[in-house]
């Protein structure tokens, strides 16, 4: 029974958007990816959810600045394992144009492990979809191996 669920569950990933001090550019693109029929991420079974406790994939945007760091980590820890983290935009991967700023503590990897990175400032909606598809493969592998994102 569990095996069957594990096989079926990657067909309907629920996505949670986490804004870690982003400039809102990537958030607009993520909303576009989900809501506009032209891109329509729901074709691959995804659904945006409002509660972190229901989420499977996490889309993180922003460089994780000091002011939101504790709050973001609190929300991030509420997301059940095995979660797959997608860093959207240049900021979560490197800090982007805020790199070496006074309000950041880099890299983000020391707080949130990024599984898939979608670079761009902001990335195209299609690029985000590509990242989500890559994250699904990571998630499938995690379910098979029964591992979680903490290393």
């Amino acid at each position: 029974m569990l095996k069957l669920i594990q096989k079926l569950v990657p067909r309907s990933p629920w996505i949670y958007r986490l804004n870690a001090g982003s400039c809102n550019g990537c958030d607009v693109e993520m909303a576009t990816t989900a809501l506009i029929p032209r891109y329509d991420v729901e074709r691959i079974g995804c659904k945006y959810c409002g509660s972190p406790r229901h989420a499977d994939l996490v889309l993180i945007s922003g460089p994780l600045n000091l002011r939101v760091r504790e709050k973001v980590l609190r929300v991030f820890n509420e997301i059940p394992h095995p979660k797959v983290t997608i860093g959207v935009g240049a900021c979560p991967a490197s800090g982007g144009c805020f790199r070496e700023g006074y309000s950041l503590e880099e890299p983000v990897d020391q707080y949130i492990p990024l599984d898939v990175i979608v670079p761009g400032c902001p990335p195209r909606p299609q690029a985000i979809i590509e990242g989500v598809v890559k994250a699904l493969d990571v998630w499938r592998k995690r379910l098979e191996e029964d591992t979680c994102c903490r290393f």
């Binding site: 032209r38 891109y39 144009c97 979608v118 690029a127």
Partner: protein, 175 residues
């Protein structure tokens, strides 16, 4: 009622407006700025790309043996503004339309545009100078291609020699 029917018929004929990506290739606009591509054959190591890079994504590292420079452009830091391609004097940096950049987190520190640009050699004494590819020779060295390929020292000497020769010949003509 009639406008609605018109829209309905049009939509039925047009089919879905959804972009078929990821099941089929997506359309990319002609002037889309994707990953920057560096051509080491055209690079003259002027460093203007590093100077104008808003995100500090471009690094020029001297090779340990001093034979050239390592050009590195980190796609994860890049904000795809295209300033480097705009200011590149020889067109060595261009913005491609490649947006398939998503990668796994473990590839983060290897995901860069990486190329080695060797230094040029003075045509006379063989000293190390900035690279002199054909693009820049055609653009700047057209008037005196021989002198353009020399190191500063050899160039100064050749200029002085040229000036003294002409002075001498003028002096002889006067006598």
């Amino acid at each position: 009622m009639l406008p609605f029917l018109k829209i309905m018929v049009r939509n039925l004929l047009q089919g879905p407006s959804t972009d078929p990506f990821p099941f089929a290739p997506a359309k990319t606009p002609a002037r889309f700025r994707g990953a920057a591509v560096h051509d080491s054959e055209k690079c003259i190591l002027c460093g203007i790309c590093r100077h104008v890079c808003a995100a500090g994504a471009i690094q020029l590292r001297a090779a340990e043996d001093g034979s050239g420079m390592q050009f590195m452009l980190w796609h994860n830091s890049c904000v795809y503004c295209g300033m480097c391609a705009h200011y590149c004097p020889t067109g060595a940096l261009t913005m491609s339309d490649n947006w398939h950049l998503s990668h796994l987190g473990e590839d983060k520190y290897t995901f860069s545009e990486d190329s080695f640009v060797p230094f040029g050699e003075c045509a006379q004494c063989g000293a190390r100078i900035q690279p002199r590819p054909n693009v820049i020779v055609e653009k700047l060295g057209g008037r005196a291609p021989d002198q353009f390929l020399l190191c500063p020292k050899c160039k100064r000497e050749s200029l002085v020699k040229h000036a003294s020769d002409t002075n001498l010949s003028q002096f002889r003509e006067k006598q």
